[in-house]
Every structure is written in C-alpha cells, then in structure tokens.
Symmetry: C2
Subunit: 226 residues, 2 copies
C-alpha cells in the first residue's frame, strides 16, 4: 500500500467511504463506479478517484470498483486490522456510555481496561472490561501494550491525567473532555471530540438561516408597503 503525505481532508473522508461501502454490501451491491459512489456521497467522481489513488489502484477500467474488495482496502488503510488496544479513563456518564454502547471492536480497536477513581466502580466490569483504580494506571501501562487512551474524565482532571499519560509515553489520546489538550513537543497524537464545537457550528448555520429569512421577510414587507 502506498502511503504518501495524504491531506487531512482525504483522511476525514475515508471513514465515510467505509460506512457507505458497508451499507452497499449490506444492500447486496457488488460493484460500483466512482460516479455512482460520488453521487451517493455528494462528491465528484474525480475526487473519489483522486482520493483512492493516494493509496493504490483499487479499481478496474470499464468495470469500476468491487465493493467488498474496496471496503477491505479502506479498512486496511484506516488500520482497522492492526488490533490497536485502548484503555478508557473516566467511567462517568460519557465514559460509561462508550463502554456500554460504543462497539470498539467493530472498528478494529480492543478496549482492554478502564480506570476511575470511584471506589464503587473499581473492580466491577462492563462488557467484559474491568474498571481499575486510577492509581494502577502507570503500572498497567508498563505491563500491558496499550496504543491509545480514551479520555473521558471531568474537565478539572483533564490536564493532570493527560500529563500522566504523556509521561507514560502513550501513543494517542481520543479526547472527550472539552479541553484543548495541546501538549506541544510531545509525540502523542490527539483526536478531539468537542461536542460544544459541533453544537456551535450548528448554531452558526441556524443563525445564518434565521438572518436570511428575516432579510427575505423585510424585503417582502417593503414591497407590500410600496
């Protein structure tokens, strides 16, 4: 598999391709052309062919793409077959929801342990994942291969926990706290899930539409007054 310096925009489209290809498989579609796929995703055929060509030649002239084969290629590109191992830190509301409802294994990630400070939780397990005390963190990381930490602690704890993780040379953090975890100079990869950012951009687009509608109404009123 090729792997040139691929732009962030391309990377963010890959999971959408995967999802659509899974959907097509489920619907019994065996092959698809770049124009059909583009139509279904709101992208141009050119863009789709460009995107895939970053990683190899997955199609066939005159035929298109084999859905199952392409799906497996995309999955491989995303690293879903690498068996990355994750720990969850913070089994509060959001952490618990992830443990209970989010199927890590569906995305090729294995959740191997969870950590919390709540004595009532420590020692219990959900979906086969045991919750340990936070004081065991460093020891656990030393003795077990862990690729990423899912950070779901309260705001207040975010910074100190991050420092502990970075000190343990954790490879990556999937950040559900509403904090910017810039640890400049550290090699840790950070991916943020900022609920508030998402809500605010939605709020922006709602405002924009509201203003447009008000402007239209004002024009109408003016017209009627004439």
């Amino acid at each position: 598999m090729k792997r040139l310096k691929v732009s962030h925009n391309v990377i963010r489209r890959l999971p959408r391709y995967l999802r659509k290809l899974d959907e097509l498989t489920e619907a019994g579609v065996g092959r698809i052309s770049s124009s059909d796929l583009g139509q279904q995703l709101g992208l141009t055929p050119s863009q789709i062919r460009q995107d895939f060509s970053c990683f190899g030649e997955f199609g066939q002239q005159g035929y298109g793409y084999n859905v199952a084969a392409l799906r497996d290629q995309v999955a491989a590109i995303l690293g879903m077959n690498r068996g990355f191992r994750a720990i969850l830190i913070g089994v509060g509301n959001i952490g618990h929801a992830l443990m209970d409802n989010f199927c890590f294994s569906e995305w090729g990630v294995c959740l191997v342990s969870a950590f919390d400070i709540n004595p009532a939780l420590i020692g219990t397990s959900f979906n086969g994942v045991t919750i340990r005390g936070m004081e065991e963190l460093e020891n656990y990381l030393e003795n077990n291969a862990v690729d990423l930490a899912v950070l779901a602690v309260p705001r207040e704890a975010a910074h100190s926990v991050t420092e502990r993780l970075v000190a343990c040379k954790i490879g990556a953090i999937w950040n559900f706290t509403n904090m910017e975890l810039t640890e400049p100079g550290s090699a840790t990869i950070v991916e943020n899930v900022h609920f508030s950012d998402s809500l605010l951009s939605l709020s922006y687009y709602m405002s924009e539409r509201q203003d447009e509608e008000a402007a239209r109404a004002a024009r109408m009123a003016k017209k009627n007054a004439e």
Copy 2:
C-alpha cells in the same frame, strides 16, 4: 455584522476562537494581537485577521483586539445569544450523558424537553428537563417553539425518527447516531457527531506512525547488517 458566504473552514475555527478567548479572559488577559492569538492556536496571524474580517472590524491598529469584546462578537456570530431551543430524543446512554453532563445553556441553547419510549423514564426529569413519551412528539412540536432536535436514539430508530422530525419541519438535527441522515431535498440542517469517524481517523494516524517507525527500524537493521 457582516455575513457573507463564509467557508466551512472558517466556521469550524470560530468555536476554537471562543474557547481560547474564554481561557484568556479567565487568565486575566485583556488584549491580544493576531500574532499572539495565532501562536496559541497554531494559526498564522494573517489567517486570524482574515477570518474575523469576514464578519466585521473588531480590532484596532497598533493595539490588537480587546479579548472580552472579541469574545462577545464571536459568541454573537455563532448565535449564542439567540436562545435556540432544543429537544433531546432518546434518553439512553448517550442521551442521558448529554442531559446530565452537557451544559447546553453554556452554549446559549435551552434544552426544553426530552423524549423516550421507555415507560420507566417517561414523566421523570433530569436537571429540570422532563422526559415525555415519543407519541407526544408531534403534538409537542406543534405547540412549542423548537429550533433543533438532538438525535440520540439507537441505530434502528434513527431513520423513522428523522422522518417524523422532518415531517414536522424541524429546523436542525444534531445527530449522535452513527447513521448518515441525508434527507435530500429537506431544508433541515444536519450536524453529525460520528464517534466512529473520529476514532478511525485517529487509527489512521496511529497506523501511519507505526509504518514510519517500522520503516526506520528496517533502515537501521539494514545499515547494521552492512
């Protein structure tokens, strides 16, 4: 306030500006230049000035920006002062976490009601928000001003609930289901929070690094063999 056709990239940076400006206020910083702000956010001063200039002139030559004033401008641009009203649909794990932990009002949004099918939940309330039965949805939307629906139902229910919301001409959907809610032709604004997409792009970057390290190790081994 100006409001030209502003690119999506700019919109996605606005919530980050807001967060940083709040942080600066908290730290007692009263003014900041575009270069300082850029440094702290990993952006160029030019980009910051360009971004703000989409909406007006908020700075002062020779001085920079007043942090508090700029913060308020950004908040207004994002529509945080418009009192948008939201309902939550689905009080399962993720819905419950949002109700319990996510401070809607901090972002200018008012959560006015929740809906679920679970009889044990109907009639109860969390943080002052009452949970109603799903059969009341249409009636509620008819009799109350609601700007957006937070969709946190299980996968299976996503499609049918979306159809009901669109039929009620809901203005916007904040989508926490892992489904693509493309309702083409509808005027509903959709903002997705796809956990799996986020995890997979993280997985991509972890894979990329893994490959780079393997390549480096291979080069080293070859060198040593010579």
